[in-house]
């Protein structure tokens, strides 16, 4: 599950953050809470993706609050999904450069790498290469599968969030 060395961690984080922002449409409270810890979770994920996705950190049980179940965290899942999406886009669309991928995925071009709040404006730019509907569907599938696999979500809910993240208008497939 380690992100490939060739992919840019910064870009993966950027894409994951964009996903998280878009997921606010269906999970507003969760997304608002996760914004606070996005940076911490991002650093933890890149240090040890497997551990970040498992949600359990060991260290002995003494004087802990109890033995609660693992909370549902979208950020590590989006980071994992983002890594796969970036790899897919690089592989399939010959958009090897970071700038190209950003354009393809419709991310804003901020000098500090942090995505803009409204990336849709960039997506409308005719100069930016576009993914086909089929490719967008594949991206959405990657996100949905990541949500099912890592967050143990039901396929229906995962599809709904994936639709919110990718946009069902682009894929032309409504969420189930």
């Amino acid at each position: 599950m380690k992100a490939r060395q060739s992919t840019d961690q910064h870009l993966v984080a950027e894409v994951a953050y964009a996903m998280l922002q878009r997921a606010a449409a269906v999970e507003p409270a969760q997304v608002m809470a996760e914004r606070r810890v996005f940076d911490v979770l991002r650093a933890a994920y890149f240090a040890d993706p497997h551990r970040a996705l498992s949600g359990a950190d060991g260290g002995g049980d003494q004087l802990k609050f109890g033995l609660p179940g693992v909370e549902e965290l979208l950020t590590p899942v989006f980071l994992a999904a983002s890594a796969e999406v970036v790899a897919y886009v690089v592989d399939r669309c010959s958009a090897a450069s970071r700038r190209g991928v950003r354009r393809l995925l419709g991310l804003p071009m901020e000098p500090d790498g942090r995505p803009a709040e409204e990336p849709d404006a960039v997506a409308d730019d005719p100069a930016v290469p576009q993914l086909t509907g089929e490719q967008w569907a594949q991206v959405r599938s990657i996100v949905a599968q990541a949500l099912v696999r890592y967050a143990k979500m039901s396929p229906q809910r995962a599809d709904l969030i994936a639709a919110a993240v990718v946009g069902d208008g682009i894929t032309g497939v409504p969420p189930q």
Binding site: Q30, A33, V40, A44, A52, D57, D61, L63, P68
Partner: protein, 982 residues
């Protein structure tokens, strides 16, 4: 309900929480301390085992201890001592010779413990670093979390912490928990990243979890928890590995290059026992630690709930915790997690919520907890007894008793507290009969189990089945009975007090009752521990073979033997040599009498006391009548030759007639005390454990007067034929300066007889009442002057007995002080003379047949000489000795008129070398498994597997003849073997 009423309820609830929390803290501290003590005591045994295997000890033995032991025979020989005196002097000299060993061992153990504690301190100091690294903790950054930090600091202030802890974040913990840890003055609370999410999604839940963690800091749980864990890991890291290595190869430190595996089954059993003991210790420490941590969680919950407003968020969050937990530290199948979870570090969420609703639950101690405490206490006590005993030297006896005293106080105190706690929800009814039976059985069973499974038992069998399974069963039964009696007394007194006491008085009374139970029970426990230690004095009743006059009359001989046996029966004799039995007996009825006298308008209690004293007085008067009758009866049935005082009273004639006369009367008085106790136990329906001691005390006091009456009558009728002139004077009827001794004798014998009889009687009466129920009696009024008279009589009775106990204290101190050391010493080895190198005497090499094997020993007080022949001994030039009994060698002796046979089969091999006329053996192994069978008059009385145990022995070899005699002078038996070369 109005707002004011709400506040009032809240305040009262907070006060209750605070009181429950306060009462829990010392209890948890005790359990933490006991757990740490168990680990440290196990370390003492482990360090002792390692010390025995060190090269430095081998050198010390060779240069100082062995030569000293070899010189004992020469030092004792000129003294011309009797056999028993010789055994005592040799034992004392052996201890003297062993002193360098004990001192080196003490130094070794002391340094080892110090190193272990230093390591534990380091581990404790490093735990924040370790947790931070393991969990990849990061500081909760103020950027973006200023509001969170402000909230957290506010909660810390509310918790009353002098300074807020350092707030950390666990980035990999997707859970919504927290964890408290850190060193003093730098506490830390770590937030799971999942919890931080709750700050925005569930603020109340977020606060509830933080308050729980702050509750741990408020309760000072952090140091105790992490210190306990650190001490355990320091034990594992520093001692377990060497212990296992030494178990597999005892020579690993002395000769690390030479690996040897002993195929001896006894060695394998010993190894297995040691590994089982280690595993058991691990399991006990783990489970006990978890039990304590569970109670700390409940405590933190209760404290945190007290800080909450009325939203009940903590209950909600706790209730939502999955159970059994979804996450497990160990790879346990999901369906089994439920069972394991109950033994984990956190209680069932339902129990946590219940504790928040009813904080009194916190202070309640379950039977399992008591069993655990008993078990851990047994590990502590057993594991340090040998070590401390060795250092105490001549003061071993008093040392063992004093060592066991705090353990007794702890266990009795815990039991009584537990009984009071289970009573809490049902004030006035006392603990249920089920609790009153199960709780004492639990604590006694826990203690009894800890002995055989201690590391000491694995190495020495002490604390386990050293005296055989029957002795172990007797010991355990006595312990269970003792705790049951304490429980019955506590329950009975508690119920009577609770019926009419008010809150403040009830608390004071409860403390007095607990203190009394501890004051009576703890010394008795200490004596019980001493009696059962090692050879087990409970099993050493010498009821026959006493040298006495009048042996021709069979019934008199039997009576004299029984009296003699009772007189020297150590548990009775030693208990009589303390003021504890007398004081305890008085405390058991006097304390409840005083407590009840002020509170009860209903006079049933005082009537009960008066009746019990009356029954005791009647039995006492019967004893006085018996005291008069016995001399006349003796005069009628015994010839003058028997009724005489020998001119010289010595070991040969211990049981002269006056002694038997006194013993007979003591026995009659004891029986009358038992009968009186049985009557009271059957008649009374309440306060039986209080009234029976009162009855016994009353009978004992009157019986003591009866003893003097009996002696005076004997003198008046000239019963005893003596060279001294008999006289008949009124003064003879008055007590003399030894009255305290006689009173203690009668009380101790009487209590020993009364307890079982009263229990049986109470049981039968209870059954009878169940079959034929009688209506409850109406309250009765007692006349004031009768109550005052009864109080005066009881006061005088108690004062009399306590005064007698006080008068006897100087004698008691003398009885327990070891005698003066014998004025004999072993000549130190010449330092100028180098120690002789191990050699093999060529004369020994060859095969030898025992033509005569004679062992002089004592069975009980009977001297015995065992004889045998036929064993084959082989000594090789390579230093291997073999002892082969072929198809079996039988040693025979006549002991007390009985034919005793010891039949040995199997063979033993060992390495040997000769050293200045001594054959020294080591590395003994059973070469061919066999048995040692004991027969008395042809019937088998015991059979044990042959064990590989050869003692060093002196020898004289010349040509084809070889003679061997004891090499260890301290042995209680002496042997001489004649062998011919084959």
């Amino acid at each position: 309900m109005t707002a004011t009423a709400d506040e009032d309820v809240g305040r009262r609830r907070a006060v209750r929480r605070s009181a429950s929390a306060r009462s829990l803290r010392p209890w948890t501290d005790i359990r933490f301390a006991t757990l740490i003590a168990a680990v440290l005591a196990s370390s003492v045994v482990a360090l002792s085992v390692i010390h025995v295997a060190t090269p430095s000890l081998e050198r010390l033995n060779r240069e100082r201890v062995d030569p000293c032991l070899d010189g004992i025979t020469a030092a004792v020989a000129p003294l011309r001592l009797t056999f028993s005196d010789s055994v005592l002097v040799r034992g004392w000299l052996t201890n003297q010779c062993m002193e360098p060993f004990f001192h080196q061992q003490a130094k070794w153990v002391g340094l080892g413990l110090l190193a272990q504690l230093v390591l534990a301190g380091m581990l404790y100091a490093l735990h924040p670093w370790w947790l931070g690294r393991r969990r990849r903790l990061t500081r909760l950054a103020s950027a973006g979390n200023a509001d969170v930090l402000a909230e957290l600091d506010g909660l810390a202030r509310q918790a009353g912490l002098p300074r807020p802890p350092l707030w950390l974040l666990a980035p990999y913990a997707g859970t919504h928990g927290g964890q408290a840890f850190g060193l003093p003055r730098r506490r830390r609370v770590c937030l799971d990243v999942g919890l931080l999410l709750r700050y925005d999604t569930d603020r109340a839940g977020f606060r509830a979890v933080i308050r729980h963690e702050l509750g741990h800091l408020h309760n000072r749980d952090v140091d105790r928890t992490y210190l306990t864990i650190a001490i355990w890991w320091s034990f594992v890291a520093s001692l377990v590995a060497p212990l296992i290595a030494l178990s597999l190869n005892p020579d690993v430190l002395r000769r690390p290059q030479q690996w040897s595996w002993s195929g001896d089954p006894a060695s394998s059993r010993e190894l297995l026992h040691r590994l089982v003991a280690l595993l058991f210790l691990t399991a006990v420490v783990y489970l006990a630690r978890n039990a304590i941590l569970r109670s700390r969680e409940l405590h933190a919950d209760v404290v945190a709930a007290g800080w909450e407003s009325t939203d009940g968020a903590l209950r909600r969050v706790v209730r939502s915790l999955p159970w059994p937990p979804q996450v497990s530290r160990f790879p346990v199948p999901r369906r089994w997690r439920g069972y394991g979870a109950h033994l984990g570090t956190h209680p069932d969420p339902r129990r946590r919520v219940a504790a928040m609703d009813d904080p009194d639950r916190l202070a309640r101690t379950s039977g399992w907890e008591l069993a655990g405490l008993g078990l851990v206490t047994a590990l502590v006590l057993n594991n340090i007894s040998l070590f401390v005993g060795n250092l105490m030297g001549r003061y071993l006896v008093i040392g063992l008793v004093l060592l066991a005293l705090p353990a007794g106080a702890l266990l009795v105190g815990a039991l009584v507290s537990a009984l009071r706690q289970v009573d809490a929800p049902h004030r006035g009814q006392g603990p249920s009969r089920r609790d009153a039976v199960l709780l004492p059985i639990a604590v006694a069973a826990g203690f009894a189990t800890g002995g055989p499974l201690s590391l000491l038992a694995a190495d020495t069998n002490l604390g386990g089945f050293a005296a055989g399974p029957v002795a172990f069963a007797v010991n355990t039964t006595l312990l269970v009975t003792g705790f049951l009696l304490i429980s019955a007394w506590t329950r009975s007194v508690g119920r009577s007090l609770d019926e009419s006491s008010t809150g403040g008085h009830r608390a004071v009374s409860a403390r007095v009752v607990t203190a009394t139970a501890v004051a009576v029970g703890a010394p008795m426990f200490a004596l019980w521990y001493f009696y059962g230690y090692g050879t087990n004095l409970f099993m050493t009743f010498h009821g026959q073979g006493w040298p006495a006059t009048g042996w021709a009359i069979e019934w008199y001989s039997t009576l004299a033997d029984t009296i003699g046996g009772l007189y020297v029966y150590q548990p009775l004799l030693r208990t009589r040599q303390t003021p504890l039995a007398s004081l305890g007996m008085v405390l058991l009825w006097a304390v409840p009498a005083v407590l009840l006298s002020r509170r009860h308008r209903d006079s049933r209690q005082s009537v009960c006391f008066r009746r019990a004293a009356a029954v005791g007085a009647i039995a006492g008067l019967v004893a006085v009548i018996a005291a008069i009758a016995i001399p006349y009866a003796a005069q009628a049935v015994l010839p003058t030759d028997v009724r005489r005082i020998p001119d010289e009273i010595n070991d040969e004639v211990l049981l002269h007639f006056p002694f038997v006369h006194m013993g007979t009367y003591l026995a009659v008085a004891a029986l009358l005390q038992a009968v009186a106790a049985a009557v009271v136990a059957a008649m009374a329906t309440r306060l039986r454990p209080v009234l029976v001691p009162l009855t016994v005390t009353t009978t004992a006091v009157l019986s003591t007067a009866g003893l003097y009456v009996s002696w005076a009558v004997s003198s008046c009728i000239n019963l005893v034929a003596s060279s001294k002139t008999n006289s008949c004077r009124p003064m003879l009827f008055l007590p003399d300066e030894h009255v305290d001794v006689h009173l203690h004798f009668i009380l101790v014998w009487g209590a020993a007889a009364a307890i079982p009889v009263a229990l049986i009687s109470a049981g039968i009466a209870a059954l009878w009442r169940r079959l034929r129920p009688t209506p409850p009696t109406a309250p009765v009024t007692d006349r004031h002057h009768r109550r005052r008279l009864a109080a005066g009589v009881l006061g005088a009775l108690g004062t009399l007995v306590i005064a007698a106990a006080a008068v006897a204290v100087p004698d008691n101190i003398d009885d327990w002080t070891p005698g003066a050391a014998p004025s004999v010493a072993v000549a130190p080895p010449d330092p100028g003379q180098p120690p002789s190198a191990p050699t093999i005497d060529p004369c020994l090499i060859g095969t030898w047949r025992e033509t005569s094997h004679r062992t002089d020993t004592a069975i009980g007080f009977d001297p015995a000489r065992f004889t045998s022949s036929g064993t084959i001994q082989t000594f090789t030039a390579e230093g291997v000795a073999t002892l082969d009994t072929g198809t079996g060698v039988t040693e025979t002796a006549i002991v007390g008129g009985h034919l005793v046979e010891v039949i040995t089969t199997g063979s033993i091999t060992a390495r040997y070398h000769t050293d200045n006329g001594v054959i020294r053996y080591d590395d003994e192994k059973v070469a061919r498994a066999g048995t040692v069978t004991i027969k008395v008059n042809g019937s088998v009385r015991g059979e044990d597997p042959l064990t590989a145990d050869l003692s060093d022995e002196r020898y004289a070899c010349s040509g084809d003849t070889l003679r061997q005699i004891n090499g260890e002078p301290s042995m209680s038996s002496q042997y001489a073997v004649e062998l011919n070369r084959t």
